[in-house]
Symmetry: C2
Subunit: 241 residues, 2 copies
């Protein structure tokens, strides 16, 4: 029988999941930050991760559609604004496309996502389905990877700027914005799960949801590593450098 | 503008998808058949593929739930009988568990599927979601990988029996049954799509559905290959040999 944790114990358990499983420890991410990838490998990362970025507002809209409280909806709605922008040419998805622009991809090619890795697509879609199908508490908890992203972003941006002459500060503008957006979102979601997980099994479901989300990020990098770092393993139909 | 194909041209296009993308050409499958995997790698394959087997009747039930015609339902229902059996201890899932038994896994461990690769889970779940969410025609078409399985199964069984002293004919009983079940199922589904795809875009959707399904099988082997053939890449939480 699992014991009830205090809210702070729950937070500590969530931070332990991040320490063990957040994708900043994935070999592909370590190589990306250290400058050990070539331009085509960085291109593959940006191309595939666009699909993740593009699904985030759909995930957030699916969650928004289940929030009964206008105050919660107002808070959650900001995530969609951040990704989609106030006007054409604004927002996180647009900023990601500036990165793929800088890496030489045509926008239509990136947006169509026909040639991303199947492993990317399945991992990202698994996240969207999780948010649609699980409890609201688990859906909110699955967003808690934002707790760990500011530190990872700082390392990533510093590493990429230091190590890749084909990546500029402007091309990485997406991450600058996330440094302020992610902590605000993470604080909100963390307060929510600490308050709303009122039974031991709910607390365990919150931890499992964050673990699941870490796995979806990790699996995206597994797919990239297998296809574009190990030679000869690009699956049929995926982008060929 | 895509032109309408004759039913036989559609069949030829579907066979071309299999020739290019069916997973018998995946490096992991080639190694499995050739005896180039060690026992732990074969164990990883059997453990992970159990999850695929376990989801197939759920996928078929989701499809059955959308078939309006009793005659079609009677035909499709047989797939569920084949996997679940007439009685306890019968059926394809049970036969797969005899393989994991023979490879030294506890049944509870296999059935819980807590330690399969996330990449396996996402690929399999992607297939189940596809069948639930797409048109009936696409759902039926996604089963057409059965067209290519008898040849692949013959090679796999012969290769595994010749090359692995830890695999017996009894442990591979699953595949014996599939040699008669798969062609019957494939003939039914192929007749269905040749008859029901009445517009060029429906024919293209049928081809895309089979391509999608091939990708889900390929991605499962990508995940296995990355985790258990390349050293040092087992993701957090997955089975450790």
């Amino acid at each position: 029988m699992t014991e009830m944790m205090s809210p702070d114990q729950l937070e500590a358990a969530l931070r332990a999941v991040g320490a063990a499983r957040y994708h900043d420890k994935h070999p592909f991410q370590v190589r990306l930050n250290a400058g050990d990838l070539n331009r085509d490998q960085v291109r593959a990362w940006a191309l595939n991760r666009y699909y993740y970025q593009s699904r985030i507002p759909l995930k957030d809209a699916a969650l928004l559609a289940r929030l009964e409280d206008p105050a919660l909806r107002r808070a959650w709605r900001q995530r969609i604004v951040d990704h989609d922008g106030e006007t054409e040419g604004d927002g996180g998805i647009e900023r990601w496309l500036r990165l793929t622009d800088a890496l030489g991809f045509a926008r239509d090619y990136v947006i169509a996502a026909h040639h991303i890795l199947p492993g990317t697509r399945y991992a990202v879609d698994a996240y969207v389905h999780f948010v649609r199908e699980r409890s609201l508490l688990e859906a909110v908890a699955s967003s808690l990877t934002e707790m760990f992203s500011p530190g990872a972003i700082k390392n990533r941006v510093a590493g990429m700027l230091a190590n890749y002459d084909f990546v500029s500060k402007e091309a990485l503008a997406y991450f600058d914005k996330r440094l302020t957006q992610a902590p605000r979102d993470a604080d909100f979601a963390l307060d929510y799960v600490k308050r709303e997980a009122r039974r031991p099994e709910q607390q365990q479901a919150v931890i499992a949801a964050l673990t699941f989300k870490c796995d979806t990020l990790w699996a995206q990098l597994d797919a990239l590593h297998h296809a574009y770092v190990e030679p000869g393993h690009i699956p049929p139909g995926a982008w060929q450098p």
